[in-house]
Amino acid sequence: MNESSPPIRLRNVTVRLGGRVILEDMSLDIPAGKVTAVMGPSGAGKTTVMRLITGQLKPDTGEVWLGDQRVDQMNSKTLNRLRRGIGVLLQNGALFTDLTCFDNVALPLREHTDLPEQLIRRLVLLKLQAVGLRGAAELYPRELSGGMNRRVAMARAIALDPSVLLYDEPFAGLDPISLGVSLRLIRSITRALHTTSVVITHDVAEVRKLADFSCIIADRRLVASGSPDTLNNSEHPLVRQFLDGQPDGPVPFHYPAPELADQLLESERRA
């Protein structure tokens, strides 16, 4: 494990957004140099965890630590310095559509380094080679498939050799081949760069193949954490509903509503 890949710690974090409590008094430890999967049902607050780590969101209470740096107390200048060491793959890649794949990957290098253009060219080609898209360097994102776009975004995320890599739903909507490629890339990049990788996902099957450590967030808090096998053996009802994909359980199938009979009778009375 690389000394520079830091562990991530959330301590008693509470986040309220638009009057709604998203996370409540939640603590989470993400080990350094490993692939950690943060899972949970839609709307459980997985992406909020990512936004806390990158400092895009400050918790109402609690602490967010990246190594020995407290993220939630940083000003924008220190936060920007921190972010140069964090690579983020957003859900849809978020490539700049008016730039070629080459220029997309070169962007962070041009902005944050004084490297000569020739060296930037070499680095970009190496990053694109790592994701198998060196041949697509001069193409625009619109000329590539969704899976390829995400691979270019992955090359951009590792452009500055970050010590932390965050992946937001990297498997959503991918065909089996692209999914396999993404899995292999996340594993190989984590190993090659010795990064602390966090994968935000609800893809249970893929997490079993990929993660060293996984956790499930539901009902505003951390309900389980450990190795994928430990989670698999958990008897916690929320964990079981999530892992087994049961439509009803602690997370209800129905959106809160009055009794059906009452509502039907009410409609009849009005008619």
Binding site: L79, A94, L95, R110, E111
Partner: protein, 256 residues
């Protein structure tokens, strides 16, 4: 009578919005940086906003000049004063019509495109991606488009005026048989470079700032949905048109 809280909120909303628009401009100005990358991006935006608006500006200018001369010529011919047509054409173009109409056309063509682009960048997480790469989106996205408006609109006003005078020349001289020497001579004698042309160009710079500013503001604050982006582009055109028409009156009153 006490205003209800929702009524009061509705009353205060436009004021809050005005403050928000003002703060947005102050933030954009306070974060301005002039690196080689920024200058290159600004020039690219001048091309997108300015050069790509040329067709509508050239066509609009030519036909405005043509129809303005047609109506003026008809009115003046009743008093036997058709030789004044070029003076009226030039003064109305340089002082009022050039800056106002060019900015309105610019808002419809380039302003909406800037708003939609930034709105879609927000919807597709491109602004988030910049922020996460420690690149200030205000500096990288807003600043070049704002400056592009300030550069492009005055240049387009010049082109609009030239095309309008050309339209007027064609109607008055080639179609109605006016003397070309009188046409140009009267224009040069009466129109003052500083007072008439200069004031018009000052207006063009102010209008360019407003058109660019409102376009980036509404794009920046657009809801990240297709409906939100559509609403933002409409707001850009309406807000720019109203601001330009009001400001034009105020500036004209001061510059007289």
């Amino acid at each position: 009578m006490n205003a209800s809280p929702s009524g009061l909120a509705r009353l205060l909303n436009p004021i809050r919005k005005l403050g928000d628009v003002g703060l947005f401009l102050l933030t954009a100005i306070s974060r301005m940086r002039f690196t080689a990358l920024q200058v290159a991006e600004t020039l690219r935006q001048v091309y997108f906003a300015g050069v790509r608006s040329l067709v509508i500006i050239v066509t609009g200018g030519f036909f405005v000049g043509l129809v303005l001369t047609l109506q003026t010529f008809d009115a003046l011919s009743r008093f036997g004063a058709t030789e004044a047509v070029s003076t009226i054409l030039a003064l109305s173009l340089f002082r009022e019509l050039g800056p106002v109409l060019t900015t309105l056309l610019f808002a419809g063509r380039a302003g909406t495109s800037i708003t939609a682009e930034i709105g879609l960048m927000r919807a597709t997480e491109q602004l988030d991606a910049l922020d996460l790469m420690a690149i200030d989106p205000m500096e990288r996205i807003v600043q070049p488009r704002l400056i592009a408006g300030i550069i492009a609109v005055p240049a387009l006003v010049l082109i609009f005026n030239v095309c309008a005078i050309l339209g007027g020349l064609i109607y008055a001289v080639f179609l109605m048989g006016s003397d070309p020497i009188t046409f140009w001579g009267n224009m040069q004698t009466i129109v003052e470079l500083g007072r008439d042309f200069g004031h018009g160009m000052l207006k063009a710079v102010a209008f360019g700032l407003i058109a660019g500013w409102l376009a980036v503001y509404f794009g920046w604050t657009a809801r990240p949905t297709s409906e939100g982006v559509a609403l933002a582009t409409t707001q850009t055109v309406i807000a720019t048109a109203i601001s330009i028409l009001v400001l034009n009156f105020v500036l004209s009153a001061f510059m007289l």
